[in-house]
């Protein structure tokens, strides 16, 4: 249905940051025309028994383009995102070449024009993510980049990180840190603990993450600059962030679905599908991540969607690249595994990350007249089984193959386009 035709999303329960109510939503041409009862339009999307919500926003997606198109492209990644209910994803800059200049950002934006969701590039903090020299953040900011990160690695040098925070604050953008002190992680391929000891796999201790979180909290205090912590995985990191927030620092944080569902015991067969960075931790850490979500001391659930070609994931465990798919399973995992009402799950997946990414003008907003028609329709009771072979991502490295989930995206509307209808991508 062309987007110039009026469409009514009928009979659903509308949930946004303002609350929950039953209502029909009429959209046309990328905009919400009206929200109310008994509304009619030429085109009807049946939403009875479903939740109508602002589209989800992923703060942490690896789209692999440019450079690793055999694993994912902007097009296939965006399609996977739309199927997962996302209308916007923040593309991580660890591409080849690195997204560390306006030229590469422009290339990503060019490829993203016609894809199934909005792709918002992030930029690297340092040139080539080498941690040595600042990347030209201002020229990237002019193209709309608002988040800068060396994700994949942390900025090791504390002095450089301080300058980066000051510089970023000066131009009104935010830094996001992948917290991993390389000297402590020492090349560890999994969490350091009972399992790494048994398996003979070099481990990285929790303190490799926590030490950098603590350092950067202090640098945020010193510089007055905001900082966002990516994919926190340890109980100690989460406690440090909770404390910093209580002290009034501008600290935000995200957690990933695999860190509230899987433990290091999953690595017992040396299947590198379960290799990820930060690594899967202990049961106690999983409980700490869940507790932080219940307490509200983190801001977002972000996927860290990290596609890798099958032959790379079949390398020896210590040599295989870290990372797992996440876009098509995040919502189902959150609804199934977290003891949270759907309103709070959606806050973590939509409007809170939209605010951090500073795209609230078009994503995660209120479902009201004049709002952007970036929406998803979720059947919260639909039960389904994850099938790695059926995923839209170009890669197959999901650790959740065969897992039963409750809650599935039925329709996704991106700028008024019905990009997913009845769970099927339309492009």
């Amino acid at each position: 249905m062309p987007k110039t035709v009026e469409t009514v999303i009928k009979g659903g329960t509308v949930i946004d940051a303002s609350g929950t109510r039953v209502a029909d939503v009429v959209i046309r041409g990328g905009e919400i025309l009206e929200v109310g009862h008994g509304l009619e339009a030429k085109n009807v999307i049946d939403a009875s028994g479903c939740v109508v919500a602002p589209g989800l926003v992923d703060l942490h997606t690896h789209l692999r383009q440019p450079g690793r198109e055999e694993a994912e492209t902007i097009e296939t990644g965006a399609r996977a995102a739309a199927l997962g209910g996302y209308t916007a994803v923040i593309a991580m800059p660890n591409t080849e070449p690195t997204m560390d200049s306006a030229a590469v950002i422009r290339e990503v934006l060019d490829h993203a024009i016609t894809v199934a969701c909005e792709v918002v590039p992030s930029g690297a903090i340092t040139l080539g993510r080498r941690g040595e020299q600042l990347a030209p953040m201002a020229e990237m900011a002019e193209l709309g980049v608002r988040i800068f990160t060396d994700d994949g690695s942390g900025v090791q040098d504390g002095g450089l990180m301080r300058r980066a925070l000051e510089y970023a604050k000066g131009i009104g953008v935010m830094l996001a840190q992948h917290c991993e002190d390389n000297s402590l992680a020492a090349g560890g391929a999994m969490h350091e603990g009972a399992w790494s000891a048994k398996l003979g796999v070099p481990g990285q201790p929790c303190s490799a993450e926590t030490a950098m979180v603590l350092r950067d909290i202090e640098l945020s205090r010193l510089t007055g600059a905001p900082i966002h912590f990516l994919h926190l995985s340890t109980a100690e990191s989460l406690a440090a962030v909770a404390q910093a927030r209580a002290a009034g620092l501008q600290v935000t944080a995200e957690v990933a679905p695999h860190h509230f569902t899987l433990t290091d015991a999953c690595c017992c067969d040396y299947d590198a599908t379960f290799k990820v960075n930060p690594p899967l931790r202990t049961e106690a850490d999983v409980e700490a991540v869940k507790a932080a979500l219940i307490a509200g001391t983190v801001d977002a659930i972000a996927t860290d969607h990290a596609p890798h070609a099958p032959e790379l994931k079949e390398m020896p465990f210590d040599q295989a690249p870290p990372g797992m798919l996440g876009l098509e399973t995040a919502l189902g995992l959150a609804l199934t595994e977290l003891e949270l009402p759907i309103e709070r799950v959606l806050a973590y997946l939509s409007w809170q990350p939209a605010k951090i990414a500073r795209i609230s003008d078009r994503h995660g907003g209120l479902i009201a007249k004049g709002g952007a028609a970036n929406l998803c329709v979720i059947d919260p009771n639909a039960e389904w089984t994850v099938d790695a072979r059926a995923l839209a991502s170009r890669s197959r490295n999901t650790p959740f193959d065969g897992r039963k989930l409750r809650g599935k995206v039925r329709h996704t509307i991106n700028r008024g386009d019905q990009v997913v209808i009845d769970g099927v991508a339309q492009q």
Binding site: E192, G193, A194, S196, A197, K198, L199, G200, V201, P202, G203, P205, D269, Y270, E311, E314, M315, P316, F317, D318, Q319
Partner: protein, 306 residues
């Protein structure tokens, strides 16, 4: 026996099976022509992705004495160098007709991965810092020859436990057979969570010697000093090396073992290595019979001369 990947999955009964079968092959090895035809027509591929002369020769000798054909895959001059993946390499070797893979790799878990891809049997010949089960089996066999039942015996394992596949397999085997295991190492050379292992841990070798039935020394590598795990090999040797003075404190009949290759003068003094109660070359000799037993239990029909 299906695969031999870890000692744990073999268990005490499995170890006993191997020990009993090893007796048979030890007898075969004493014959003028130490050869049977139990695995005639079977192909054993020796896949040493990491160099190892002694273990490779021991396995290949064992396979040949059983009448099997042996293919030697050398990583240094192989398709892997041309960029072929491990899985493709394994599938190719299987297509050529491998019945069993003997796998040595510098990364932990590779034998487990190969077992998941292949219909052929897999013997772990040492994977990274994980396990080296046939080393543990030949050590148990050697110990039984001298001490009989290991139940209640005190075995002291000294050295780099953290990075040692030999230690992991031996600790599993010794405890499965009822021995009491004591680990002696500087704190930097002990694995995370060692407190959860069914062993006693101490940093003081002198205090551990008096009631030891066996002292098992592990090889220490120079690179541990580069990683700041040790100040120097000299300091290690002073604290944890078995020199003549320490060896003299052992009770009569106590055995000294080492998986080789030894660093004489570091973890073991030269005169201690050559002492009558050091059974280090006997360990190597038993290796062939133990590996014959493992391959026979894995690939044989049960009949020695089938």
């Amino acid at each position: 026996m299906n695969h031999l990947l870890t000692i744990d999955e073999l268990g005490a009964d499995g170890i006993d099976d191997v020990m009993r079968t090893t007796d048979t092959f030890a007898e075969v090895n004493r014959r003028p022509i130490p050869k049977v035809q139990a695995l005639r027509g079977k192909t054993v591929v020796s896949c040493f992705f990491e160099d190892s002369t002694r273990t490779r020769l021991s396995f290949e000798t064992a396979a040949r004495r059983l009448g099997a054909d042996v293919m030697t895959f050398s990583a240094a001059s192989s398709s892997l160098k041309k960029g072929e993946s491990l899985r493709d390499t394994v599938e190719t070797l299987e297509a050529i007709g491998a019945d069993a893979f003997v796998v040595r790799h510098r990364s932990a878990g590779v034998p487990t991965q190969i077992a998941s891809w292949s219909r052929a049997k897999v013997v772990n010949a040492g994977d990274g810092q994980h396990e080296h089960p046939t080393q543990a089996l030949l050590d148990c066999y050697t110990l039984r020859t001298h001490l009989g039942d290991l139940h209640g015996k005190q075995i002291v394992v000294v050295g780099d436990i953290k990075h040692s596949r030999v230690a992991r397999s031996n600790i599993a085997a010794f405890t499965a057979l009822g021995a009491k295991v004591k680990l002696v190492a500087p704190a930097t050379l002990l694995p995370a969570s060692v407190g959860e292992w069914p062993v006693e841990v101490t940093h003081n070798l002198d205090g551990a010697l008096d009631d030891a039935d066996v002292v098992y020394l592990l090889r220490i590598q120079q690179e541990r000093t580069d990683q700041a795990l040790l100040p120097s090999l000299r300091e290690y040797s002073a604290g944890f090396g078995l020199d003549a003075k320490r060896a003299a404190r052992l009770k009569p009949g106590a055995l000294i073992m080492h998986p080789g290759p030894m660093n004489r003068g570091v973890e073991i003094a030269a005169d201690v290595a050559d002492a009558p109660n050091a059974v280090i070359t006997e360990q190597v000799a038993n290796g062939v019979a133990v590996r014959m037993a493992v391959l026979f239990l894995m690939l044989g029909s049960g009949d020695l001369n089938a």
